[in-house]
């Protein structure tokens, strides 16, 4: 009975406890300070309305929210749950169309950002460690105690890189510059910073099929350099607008490039070669011209390969047979390259593969200057083992009967296998005396073939050559062949001569003497200069004297000759005034002549009158002094009219053969205004008259 009552009591309690209570609508269970617990779960058929707070801080007011793990609250459009340790609220919202990011990815997410709207940094955590923090001004990558920063300033549009310790202000460096024209261009600053954890090699590249990018340098001397993803490195001249580009090492377009000189100053360099390379395995520089690689120079630190040469070039013309020399067949080592059909030589065993000799009387010099001869030749090797076949050359001279070795090159390995490649190697050549008829020989040998077949290519695009130390200019001067020769002066010998010995040419100009033909010494010059002075030369006139003069000393002592008068009138027609005295004057055709001559002060005059018809009863004739005759001196005393100054014999004739001797007087005329000659005689029928009279003039 007691058991039954207990059972009934328990059943009643149970019924009371486990019967589903029926609550009216909108009933409240529990109190703010009490906890209502649901065992086995809680289901709301319609919806579960959870408490709403303005923020999670407000939710902490309630101890049942704050202190209970799993508590759920609503803040705005987000749902939070108290974490397992009841220390913080975790947003558990997953709204596909709401304002949250989906863990599994987002499509057109709203809002289009992830971050914080308050002044909070956003941490990115992996392995429960903050790896990257987005502070208010950029990205901060955390690395232990040091922090690396990459920041972008939206105002200045600069990108900064910096680092700093925990709690320290980062040291920022600007690494970009802004394009003032468009905001889409970023210019990398002069200083580049690299994170030591990042691979040391940095590249900037475009995606495949991308349109490329341009990296511009500063404009210098009107040239701007940039990288075009398609065409490579280019330069743009901002003045002319011309563009040059490098493509696979070749230069196209304009040829102006500013390269630094030894002082670092950019200077204009102009190149006209196709391309430039350093020969692999050597330290020589070659340029490709017209498809051929041509040795240019050995670089500053090179000790082998290339170098030397620079002088006369000979070409391996394998298609031009020169005959046999010392039993050895040879081909032309020519002055000009033969580019015709290929002429190749092959050999598969150690030994001589090909030989070349210069033309007759070439080089025609007396000496081979010391230096390095550079051989450029094309070879290939095929077959055989893995080793490289080897080649070397021997320089010799042929004197017409004997081959004499001058030098041997080092061994050159054919490292490029079956590829026909240019091999360059040098021969160190000592100073060698040769004759003008000696010819140069180069023999090629191969070794270490190990079953390989070696081919030497000549002509047809594989022109081989040797750069010698022979000068392309003067080889010998007056028998001297020294590379540097000098001039000197001397005085030996009996006539001008040039003496050449060793490296000096002496020009000998001896001093003139009774036995030497040469230059006048200063002493002799002074002597000659003393014999004829400037004043003598001005007075000493043998070829040029004044008109009607000769030189004479009219003094009683030694003196310089002075000008004296000398004049001869020659025969002239007398045109003076003739006055006859008599009945009739001679008449008819006339033939009157006169001539006078003055030497010094003495004048001699001759007058001759001749008529066709005689006059009659003539007793005298007067003739005036002809014009041009010097006036006679009157000694200063014979100054009156009719004064007689001089006289001479004269004649009056009836013909040219019959004459009456008379006299002629030179006197002042009746008017005392001139001079006349007066001939008087006995009366006659005269038709001729004449005289010769000498007088002095002043």
């Amino acid at each position: 009975m007691k058991r039954l009552l207990l059972a009934l009591a328990l059943m009643t309690i149970s019924a009371i406890c486990y019967a589903q209570p029926q609550y009216p609508i909108n009933q409240t269970i529990g109190a703010p300070t009490t906890l209502v617990t649901s065992r086995g779960g809680f289901r709301a058929d319609s919806s579960l309305i959870i408490p709403t707070y303005l923020d999670t801080t407000k939710a902490n007011i309630s101890p049942y929210g704050k202190n209970y793990a799993g508590a759920i609250i609503r803040v705005g459009d987000s749902v939070y749950m108290r974490n397992a340790t009841a220390t913080k609220w975790i947003n558990i919202s997953q709204s596909g169309g709401g304002n949250s990011w989906l863990i599994g990815g987002n499509i057109n997410p709203l809002p289009p950002y992830i971050g914080t709207k308050d002044e909070k940094e956003l941490d990115f955590i992996t392995f429960d460690t903050v790896r990257m923090r987005m502070p208010s001004n950029g990205i901060k990558r955390l690395q232990g105690g040091a922090r690396k920063y990459l920041l972008y300033d939206t105002t200045t549009k600069y990108v900064y890189y910096g680092d700093g310790g925990v709690g320290t202000t980062p040291s920022l460096q600007q690494v970009t510059d802004v394009d003032s024209v468009t905001t889409n261009n970023i210019y990398v600053n002069q200083i580049n910073y690299y994170d030591s954890l990042v691979a040391p090699q940095h590249t900037v590249k475009t995606k495949a099929l991308d349109g490329g990018f341009y990296i511009y340098s500063n404009i210098f001397n009107s040239n701007l350099f940039y990288v075009d993803a398609y065409d490579g490195f280019k330069s743009y001249n901002t003045t002319t607008g011309s563009i040059s580009s490098f493509k696979n090492g070749n230069v196209t377009g304009t040829k102006e490039y500013y390269l630094p000189d030894t002082s670092g100053t950019l200077a204009l360099k102009e190149y006209t070669i196709d391309s430039l390379k350093r020969n692999p395995g050597t330290d020589s520089v070659f340029a490709q011209k017209n498809g051929q690689w041509v040795f240019q120079y050995r670089d500053s630190v090179g000790v082998s390969g290339g170098g030397g040469g620079g002088g006369k070039i000979y070409y391996f013309n394998g298609g031009v047979s020169m005959g046999t020399f010392g039993g050895v067949p040879m081909y032309e080592l020519g002055d000009t390259a033969v580019t015709g059909a290929a002429a190749n030589f092959t050999r598969a065993t150690t030994g001589n593969i090909a030989n070349f000799i210069t033309d007759v009387n070439k080089p025609g010099l007396l000496q081979i200057p010391a230096g390095v001869w550079t051989i450029d030749a094309y070879f290939s090797e095929t077959g055989g083992g893995s080793n490289n076949a080897e080649i070397y050359a021997i320089l010799e001279k042929w004197d017409g009967s004997t081959l004499t070795v001058i030098a041997t090159s080092p061994v050159e390995q054919l490292t490029n296998g079956s590829v026909i490649d240019l091999y360059t190697f040098g021969i160190s050549v000592p100073t060698t005396t040769i004759s003008t008829t000696d010819r140069i020989v180069i023999q090629f040998y191969i070794q270490n073939t190990n079953g390989k077949t070696v081919t030497l290519y000549t002509q047809n695009g594989y022109v081989g050559e040797v750069h010698t130390t022979f000068t392309t200019g003067i080889g010998a001067l007056n028998g001297l062949t020294a590379p540097t020769q000098t001039f000197a002066v001397g005085t030996s010998g009996t006539d001008f001569n040039i003496s050449s010995a060793t490296s000096t040419h002496t020009f000998n100009l001896p001093t003139a003497s009774a036995t030497n033909r040469g230059a006048l010494s200063t002493t002799d010059w002074s002597t000659f200069n003393g014999k004829i002075g400037p004043s003598d030369t001005s007075v000493f006139q043998r070829k040029s004297v004044a008109a009607f003069t000769f030189k004479a000393n009219n003094t009683s002592s030694t003196a310089d000759a002075a000008d004296q008068v000398f004049r001869d009138s020659g025969t002239l027609t007398y045109a003076g005034t003739i006055t006859w005295t008599g009945t009739t004057a001679p008449s008819g055709a006339t033939n009157h002549r006169y001539r006078w001559c003055q030497i010094g002060k003495q004048v001699t005059i001759t007058i001759s009158l001749n008529y066709a018809s005689a006059g009659s009863a003539l007793t005298a004739v007067k003739l005036t002094l002809p014009a041009g005759c010097p006036n006679p001196t009157n000694f200063g005393t014979l100054t009156a009219a009719n004064d007689i100054i001089g006289s001479a014999w004269a004649f009056l004739g009836t013909s040219t053969t019959a004459a009456t001797t008379s006299r002629v007087l030179l006197q002042n005329n009746a008017g005392n205004n001139g001079y006349e000659f007066n001939i008087s005689s006995s009366s006659g029928n005269y038709r001729t008259a004449g005289f010769t009279l000498t007088y002095f003039t002043d």
Binding site: T577, I578, T579, T584, S587, G588
Partner: protein, 60 residues
């Protein structure tokens, strides 16, 4: 000017003498000069210019 001259042989083909009688001291008419009076066949009075190369005769 008028003067007494010795008659000329105008047939000569070369230069001939032109003789003028000096009458500077004759004050009478030229026709009365002794040369005209005594040798009219030789002398004549002309009124022409005296050539520059004329010779003169002191009639005696």
């Amino acid at each position: 000017m008028t003067h007494i001259r010795q008659k000329l042989d105008l047939t000569a083909k070369q230069e001939i003498a032109y003789t003028v009688v000096i009458t500077n001291d004759w004050t009478q008419p030229l026709e009365e000069h002794p040369s005209i009076v005594e040798h009219p066949e030789i002398f004549e009075i002309v009124d022409t210019d005296i050539p520059e190369n004329a010779q003169y005769l002191k009639y005696a």
